[in-house]
């Protein structure tokens, strides 16, 4: 396998050199030369106007995957409550299943969960497989991995989706490693290639600066984890289907769990103190940075967040100053979030911060520096002192008036 530049059509225009993130291209004598730093990411192939670059010698997938059918979604639950991202994935899975003309399956491992079934069917699930066993109680990933592997071997789905939650991101790579198939992490868009009928998995990389579309070349199922809050929850059935209406669609799987030994001994679980915070659970995030000036002022943000039904986030500068705890940090070394509304208060907009929030639907920035980078990614910007504006905003929200 190699990457080649067609010398006759290459003009040495440097487009490829500029797009390459690995310094793998040099221009010598008006021709592009690709060196050993190349990682075959394909960015140069895409950008070249003269179609001069190609990867050759890569064996085409010849395997026959006809026995793999259907879209399967891993339904993640914690103490019986189902993660929102699972519903989002069922909605997305329905769309994919429709374009493939196949069935949508849910797989739900857990213990004593019957109450949560009906809602699963409002998103168009054709069939729900349930494995009810007490071994799932502590959410240990190696136990889950063994179970999912058996399920995948038995039902052979063509596509397998899971939420890119903390749990999903540790569990699913193990499953993929055992099955020996490809896995694409943290997808933000999924689609079916109309001709090849394969899954196109799109994900941000380089801190959200670039999107890459990835395919699973020569193995099945095509597995992907998907970021919470990216896909839309779209119920296809009005209200919750009745218990009777779904009974025929639920299948209990009996697994031989006698050899399901775990390698973990769970000693304790503590909720993060204060509010339980999983930033990605919220539609509104109100974040504060160094401009907050100190820990006490974060109560102002908390008040605003509460009024909006949201949660407080923070820049690293605020976390590093111990004004707020690390689980609140947004950014490259914190959480990646994409809420409906992100309000950045006293945050300058360093690239590492933007990496964690620039895919939010609506970004509102409040900063006293008109040149702050945060305004470059914001939909709405307010130049001013946050201590002037936020209290006034809270007042208005509380009184419900926007007339002066």
């Amino acid at each position: 396998m190699e990457i080649r530049v067609d010398i006759s059509s290459c003009t040495g225009c440097s487009l490829c050199k500029n797009v390459c993130m690995y310094d793998a291209i040099e221009i010598k004598g008006k021709k592009a030369i690709i060196n050993e730093n190349c990682v075959f990411c394909g960015a140069c192939i895409d950008i070249c106007k003269f179609k001069s670059i190609e990867i050759t010698g890569l064996s085409e997938a010849h395997k026959d995957f006809l026995q793999y059918k259907g879209v399967m979604v891993f339904i993640e639950q914690q103490s019986g409550s189902i993660a929102d991202v699972s519903y989002e994935l069922l909605s997305e899975g329905r769309k994919l299943a429709d374009s493939l003309g196949c069935q949508l399956y849910g797989i739900l491992p857990g213990h004593d969960l019957s109450l949560s079934y009906p809602e699963i069917f409002s998103y168009g699930t054709d069939r729900l497989y349930v494995i009810d066993n007490e071994i799932f109680e502590n959410n240990l990933d190696d136990i889950y991995a063994k179970a999912l592997v058996q399920v995948i071997h038995k039902y052979k789905p063509d596509i397998f989706l899971a939420g890119a939650t903390g749990f999903g991101r540790t569990l699913i790579p193990k499953v993929a490693a055992i099955i020996k198939t490809g896995l694409t992490a943290d997808c933000t868009a999924l689609a079916i290639d109309p001709e090849k009928k394969i899954l196109l998995q799109t994900r941000p990389t380089f801190g959200g600066n670039v999107l890459a579309t990835i395919i699973t070349r020569n193995s099945r199922p095509q597995m992907a984890t998907v970021r919470p809050h990216v896909m839309e929850k779209r119920p296809v059935v009005e209200g919750k289907p009745s218990k009777e209406g779904v009974d025929g669609k639920v299948e209990y799987i009996e697994l031989d769990v006698s050899n399901f030994k775990t390698k973990y001994k769970l000693i304790s679980t503590e909720k993060e103190t204060g509010q339980s915070i999983n930033l990605t659970d919220y539609d509104v995030i109100v974040s504060g940075g160094r401009g907050m000036g100190g820990p006490d002022n974060f109560s102002l943000l908390k008040e605003l967040a509460d009024a909006l039904g949201g949660v407080v986030g923070a820049s690293r500068a605020a976390v590093d100053s111990n004004w707020i705890s690390y689980p609140h940090q947004v950014g490259q070394t914190g959480k990646t979030v994409n809420p409906k509304i992100y309000i950045a208060c006293g945050i300058s907009g360093a690239i590492q911060h933007l990496a964690g929030m620039q895919t939010s639907d609506i970004i509102i920035a409040i900063n006293k520096d008109p040149d702050a980078t945060i305004f470059k990614v914001a939909n709405y910007g307010i130049i001013g002192d946050l201590f002037d504006i936020i209290p006034k905003l809270i007042k208005r929200i509380k009184s419900g008036k926007n007339v002066l």
Binding site: M1, N18, Y22, E36, N37, C38, V39, F40, C41, G42, A43, D46, I47, L58, S59, G166, R169, P173, K174, A176, A177, K180, L183, A185, D186, P204, T205, F206, G207, N209, V210, A212, T213, I215, T216, R217, N218, K263, Y264, L266, S268, E270, K271, S276, I277, D283, L308, P327, T333, I362, K376, N379, Y380, G381, D388, I390, K392, I397, N402, V403
Partner: protein
């Protein structure tokens, strides 16, 4: 005496700060050529060195500990191995072969596995929680699965450790979990676990003089179809720039007017 080995997996990545987008052509412009140790991997290095110090100071374990840094990458990634040595790592190995290029997380994990297999008596593999460029966090759990050893991701504190087991705390989305696991094991770490030190003068000297062995695919006994892009299950078929940057709408006026207009916007957006 038996030496305990701790393996630290690190990767050289392009520093993100240098990526800019040319608004006219909507293409990436890289400014400068700087590459860095993947930021999370610096915590992996530090944790490896701290564990060594801890284990050696403990009379009960009283063992000799060696910290080894491993990276798979082009020749130029040798520089991050030297940096790791300056930070206290004992020695380093570079896995480099043209045929490794284009590896997805699976092929990366497999290559790392075959390298680590060559060491005996390793008890712990430490990885960063994710890379800047790959950004998947998959290499750790996949590697652990290949060895069939426990993997604790997002570790925030190693509470207790000896030759055969450890007690370790990790941060899941909204909770901390504390586990006891047997060694060998693999963990991934982020900034919560420690504050990396700066290189010492002695370290810098050692780093300068150290011979860093390079292992290619033959040394690892890996065929072409197992490694690099050929050995990968996934393949990038397209790289592109996200939606064009939109115009920001400025909300102006007195603080009162600004607050009022923002309130109106929030109402429009249905958050109230």
């Amino acid at each position: 005496m038996i030496k305990i080995k701790i393996i630290v997996c690190i990767k050289q990545v392009p520093g993100t700060t240098e990526i800019k987008i040319n608004p006219e052509t909507n293409t990436l412009i890289r400014e400068g050529v700087e590459t860095v140790i993947n930021p999370f991997d610096t915590y992996a290095i530090e944790e490896g060195v701290r564990l060594k110090e801890r284990l050696m100071a403990n009379p009960e374990t009283g063992q000799e500990v060696e910290v080894i840094a491993v990276t798979m990458g082009p020749q130029q990634s040798e520089s991050i191995l030297r940096e790791a040595i300056s930070l206290g790592v004992d020695r380093a190995v570079l896995l480099s072969d043209r045929a490794f290029a284009g590896a997805d997380t699976w092929a990366t994990a497999l290559t790392l596995q075959n390298a680590i297999k060559k060491f005996d008596d390793w008890r712990l593999i430490i990885l960063g929680k994710q890379t800047l460029d790959g950004d998947t966090g998959q290499v750790g759990p996949e590697l652990a699965q290949m060895f069939n050893i426990p993997f604790v991701g997002y570790a925030s504190n190693i509470i207790e450790i000896n030759r055969s087991r450890m007690i370790i705390k990790r941060l899941m989305d909204d909770r901390y979990e504390t586990f006891e696991v047997k060694l060998p094991a693999a963990i991934s770490v982020g900034k919560e676990i420690n504050i990396p030190r700066v290189p010492s003068l002695r370290g810098k000297l050692k780093a300068k003089n150290e011979q860093i062995p390079v292992w290619n695919k033959d040394e690892l006994g890996l065929d072409d179809e197992k490694i690099g892009l050929s050995g990968s299950f996934t393949q990038v078929v397209k790289i592109f720039i996200p939606k064009a940057v939109y115009e920001v709408k400025m909300i102006t006026g007195s603080p009162d007017e600004q607050a009022a207009e923002l309130y109106g916007k929030l109402k429009e957006l249905n958050t109230l």
